[in-house]
């Protein structure tokens, strides 16, 4: 094949791709009313920036298809990163809508003009897990902070994420609230700092017959492989609130707004509340949009 012929083919392909893409850019996802009944229009992309824990829990595997069914003009792309990085993607307008869990920072994001609006959407919770025999006596503790102090007595290893993640920050908050000097592996032989993800940390805690703080979803999805039991749960301080934020001036702000309205609406909330019930006997996330 000659070089000229190759160029011709490439150019034709490029032109047809452009021709297909153009009307969809003009139409824009999110304008469902205007589009209804129109055929032959390619859907546009909505970029959702969210956290790895939401992605790992498998929630998106049911949430996204349901949204795309309700809004056929939208195709969703999920970028799973840390909460901090998701907010950064919003600031650079690389995402249209955010689903993250750092309320204070989300409110600041909207106040600074980067976001149109923010709303509570759902929560899950952290739990303290450890060996079923509970050598540290966490189960016996009457309140959360004495449970944390029981861990600090050092009767069994505690495995920390140690990676600056949301879960790690929560753990540090709890030590501080319980009046325990932030443990370090050097000073406290019972304290391990893994610097890894939740799954690895749970495996390490299980094998070392130790304790850790985990989100319930990751623990439930792995529990068959772990010799760990939930020893403390349900305290208000262990709640992990998720919020949804529409990014102002994003490439597809209308699409972001469509996702925002849908997830806070009846159907979105129902999908969230139903996820995990079949497999774990209870939902992994509790919907709480107002």
């Amino acid at each position: 094949m000659s070089a000229r012929r190759l160029m011709w083919i490439l150019r034709t392909v490029a032109m047809s791709a452009l021709a297909l893409a153009l009307p969809s850019v003009l139409a824009g996802c999110g304008n469902a009313a205007r589009l209804s009944g129109t055929s032959g229009i390619e859907p546009t992309e909505v970029v959702i920036a969210s956290t790895t824990s939401t992605q790992d829990s498998g929630l998106f595997d049911v949430l996204i298809p349901a949204f795309e069914k309700a809004h056929p003009e939208c195709v969703v792309k999920v970028i799973a990163v840390g909460t901090g990085e998701a907010l950064a993607l919003g600031r650079t307008k690389d995402a249209d809508v955010l689903l993250v869990h750092a309320k204070t920072e989300e409110d600041e994001f909207v106040a600074a003009g980067f976001g149109v609006e923010r709303s509570d959407v759902m929560y899950n919770d952290f739990v303290v897990v450890g060996p079923p025999t509970d050598p540290a006596g966490v189960r016996r503790a009457t309140d959360l902070l004495s449970a944390i102090r029981a861990l600090a007595a050092g009767r069994a290893p505690f495995v920390s994420r140690g990676d600056g993640s949301g879960t790690h920050k929560k753990e540090l908050e709890l030590w501080s609230a319980a009046g325990v000097t932030t443990p370090t592996p050097d000073a406290r032989p019972w304290y391990d700092s893994a610097g890894q993800g939740m799954g690895e940390v749970l495996m390490i805690a299980s094998n070392r017959r130790g304790y850790t703080l985990t989100d319930r979803a990751t623990y439930l999805s792995m529990r068959a492989a772990l010799d760990l039991a939930i020893l403390r749960e349900g305290d208000a301080e262990l709640r992990n609130q998720y919020g949804v934020v529409v990014v102002a001036g994003a490439r597809n702000q209308a699409g972001g707004q469509a996702f925002f309205d849908w997830i806070l609406g009846e159907e979105g909330q129902r999908v969230i509340g139903g996820y995990g019930v079949e497999e774990y006997g209870r939902p992994l996330f509790i919907p709480n949009a107002k």
């Binding site: 990676d163 592996p185 391990d192 893994a194 610097g195 094998n207 017959r209």
Partner: protein, 237 residues
């Protein structure tokens, strides 16, 4: 280019100020990989000698295994060692998973085939007549081996460098069986992965520079020994 400049400056500042506790990490790396290489030599050199001197079908088959072993994916080794040592595995009662011992075991399995294959290649390059002559002069099999290995010593240096180089740079297996625990099983490679994931490029780069330095030093030593040997041989002719 800012990203590189910032990381280099930060990395240097961390090393110079001693703010980053690199030496615990570097020492853990050297201790684990050093122990694994030493034990691998203990097994690998006699096996490599046997493979390099025998002329049989068994030798051929074993060599294929050793050469395959050189390409053994470290993550596969890590997986099998992690399963075996886990609390639910056959050796779980030893409680070895997430310890330096577990890391030595995994690295030993990775390094041994490399050392066997390189030793076999070096030993088979020693003229057969030398051994026949030694034997006719009444040398015991052990003496014969010492003599051959002495002749093939350059190859042995290569075997040490290849084995050590393969495992000190390895990350998958040590992450799986070591767990990257601070002050315990955190080695240079796993720490680099962690710092990169956390966006601390300066920290990661400082450690990467030390790792490259160590691998470079091993190879400088190796090349020096090799060239001095070549000069020695040239002088004999």
């Amino acid at each position: 280019m800012r990203i590189y400049a910032d990381a280099v400056i930060e990395g240097w500042r961390l090393l110079a100020s001693g703010a980053l506790d690199v030496w615990t990490i570097v020492l853990a790396s050297l201790r684990v990989s050093g122990a694994a290489t030493s034990i691998a030599l203990l097994f690998g050199v006699p096996l490599g000698y046997w493979l390099g001197t025998r002329r049989s079908v068994a030798r051929h088959v074993a060599l294929v295994f050793a050469n395959t072993g050189m390409g053994l994916p470290p993550v596969a080794v890590g997986l099998v060692v992690a399963m075996t040592l886990s609390r639910r595995g056959p050796l779980g009662d030893l409680g070895l998973l997430y310890s330096q011992t577990a890391m030595v075991i995994a690295q030993l399995i990775i390094a041994t085939p490399v050392i066997v294959a390189v030793t076999a290649a070096a030993v088979s390059a020693v003229p057969r007549e030398l051994r026949l002559q030694a034997r006719s002069l009444g040398a015991s099999p052990f003496h014969e081996m010492l003599l051959t290995v002495r002749e093939a010593r350059m190859g042995l240096v290569a075997a040490v460098a290849a084995g050590f180089g393969a495992i000190i740079s390895e990350v998958g297996a040590v992450q799986m069986v070591g767990g990257n625990l601070a002050g315990e099983t955190r080695v240079m490679t796993t720490a680099i992965v962690q710092f990169t994931r956390m966006g601390r490029y300066g920290h990661a780069l400082a450690l990467a520079a030390i790792l490259v330095g160590i691998v470079l030093a091993v190879n400088v030593l190796l090349t020096a020994v090799q060239t001095s040997a070549e000069r020695h041989e040239a002088g004999l002719r």
